[in-house]
């Protein structure tokens, strides 16, 4: 199982590296949205107020995550799926995919935060909490969206729209928690204020991961 996961993970990274256009497109997407924010705020004195700063960062990350995760299962044809099915258990596929998406989104979030801080100023007062929360958010987006992307890929046709329709409602509660903790980190509030939200986030990530793990074999069987 563990060897299957590492093999699949290595395969995903190799594919990504050979097809650099997708990765480049993703980074360019993040870069250009941050740049558009920078341009629109530079009309009025440069840095946005902290609430707007926070909201925009999470919107950029949310859409980048949907774009990044969406292509994961959609690239794979039915024949390829059958081939994997004969080689590895479906649990290995979903775990490898979630892990891969989590790593990809962590990288995207780091790049986005760096560009964002460089261009739009740095109002963060508690950096450890902010970065920890960002990592938790990237992992959470990955776990939630991986199964949703598998579902959307099966529906065919307009997969990206369907992914937004199916994924956003599930992500809103998580996003509310993330934005709350991120606001606390921006304002430099004490850890005790955000501890219950962070515990809920960790629990939510575990729950979503576990449900995906249980449901994916059924998705794959057909």
């Amino acid at each position: 199982m563990l060897r299957d996961i590492t093999t699949l993970l290595a395969k995903d990274f190799r594919l990504e590296w050979r097809q650099r256009s997708a990765l480049g497109g993703l980074l360019l997407y993040v870069g250009s949205t941050v740049f558009v924010c920078f341009l629109s705020f530079s009309l009025r004195g440069g840095t946005p107020p902290p609430p707007a700063w926070n909201a925009l960062l999470w919107i950029i990350l949310l859409f980048a995550a949907v774009n990044a995760v969406a292509k994961g299962f959609m690239q794979e044809s039915a024949g390829l799926r059958l081939y994997y099915y004969s080689l590895v258990p479906p649990q290995a596929v979903i775990l490898a995919k979630m892990l891969y998406n989590a790593l990809l989104l962590l990288a995207v979030a780091t790049v986005a935060l760096f560009l964002y801080v460089v261009l739009l100023g740095n109002p963060i007062q508690n950096l450890t909490l902010f970065v920890g929360n960002l990592a938790l958010g990237a992992v959470g987006f990955a776990t939630t969206l991986t199964l949703v992307s598998g579902i959307a890929a099966r529906a065919g046709g307009n997969g990206a729209t369907l992914m937004a329709v199916l994924g956003f409602p599930v992500m809103i509660p998580m996003l509310l928690l993330l934005i709350r903790v991120s606001k606390n980190a921006l304002d430099g509030l004490d850890w005790s204020v955000s501890s219950s939200s962070v515990t809920t986030l960790v629990a939510l990530n575990l729950l979503v991961g576990a449900v995906s793990y249980l449901l994916f074999p059924y998705l794959w069987r057909g």
Partner: protein, 254 residues
């Protein structure tokens, strides 16, 4: 008895009650006989609770005043929605373990009944909010939660609409039903408690059970309304799933 122990006992009892209600709901929905007794009880309870809800004396609390009567309509609708959605999820679980057209139809119709009750609950709540808070919609945690729940089931209907193959539609919508319910619905109960700035009544403790309905004249009417609306949601599911099953049969014979 100490407070945490009492809390655990209450939680266990409500869990058992919920499991019993889901099991009983499935029995009622799948029932083959006419089931006159429980349907008569539903009509009686709903009529009695609505009449009494409009006529009995209610405590005059500041701000809410007469609008407290919404407790007899709005809250039972949400209870019924949660329960019938749980029934739908349980049918989805059963579908994945043992696929059949019948279980798919039952799960779909239960979800639709839940959506109808959710829309009713949203309408009554919005009306209440207009008179007590002065706005149709506010960014209150509990209201956000209601919107999320309806968006999820909107997504479920869109997903069902985007398949041509029936078996695939049944399997994948069952997966989404379970996933979305497990990922979002529990949080909708937790989030308002974490944020702690909700204006919505029943914000701490069990939703709906707080100082507003401590009044002993309101309790029996409230309980009657809850049971009545829950039975109504099962009835609705039964009728619509019977219709779908008959349509399915006609399609097969053609």
């Amino acid at each position: 008895m100490s407070k945490p122990v009492l809390g655990i006992i209450i939680s266990v009892i409500s869990l058992l009650l919920t499991i019993f209600a889901v099991w009983g709901g499935q029995r009622l929905i799948e029932q083959r006989s006419a089931g006159l007794a429980w349907k008569a009880l539903t009509v009686l309870l709903l009529l009695a609770a609505s009449t009494a809800g409009l006529l009995i004396d209610v405590p005059r609390l500041p701000i809410v005043n007469e609008s407290i009567r919404n407790l007899f309509f709005h809250v039972p609708m949400w209870f019924a929605m949660m329960l019938v959605l749980l029934v739908s999820v349980w049918y989805s679980v059963r579908y994945l373990r043992n696929p059949s057209v019948r279980l798919d139809i039952l799960s779909h119709e239960a979800a639709k009944a839940g959506i109808v009750l959710g829309l009713l609950g949203l309408a009554t709540g919005s009306l209440w909010a207009k008179y007590t808070w002065g706005a149709w919609w506010t960014p209150d945690p509990r209201l956000n939660a209601a919107a999320v729940a309806l968006l999820i089931y909107g997504g479920y209907l869109v997903l069902r609409g985007s398949f041509r193959d029936e078996q695939q539609r049944a399997r994948i919508s069952a997966i989404y039903n379970i996933f979305a319910f497990a990922a979002a619905i529990p949080l909708l109960f937790i989030l308002p408690r974490i944020s702690g700035n909700s204006l919505h009544p029943g914000q701490t403790g069990n939703p709906g059970f707080n100082k507003y309905d401590l009044d002993s004249t309101m309790r029996p009417v409230f309980y009657a309304a809850v049971i009545g609306w829950i039975l109504f949601s099962f009835w609705l599911t039964q009728v619509s799933s019977r219709l779908s099953l008959l349509q399915e049969k006609i399609n097969e014979n053609q």
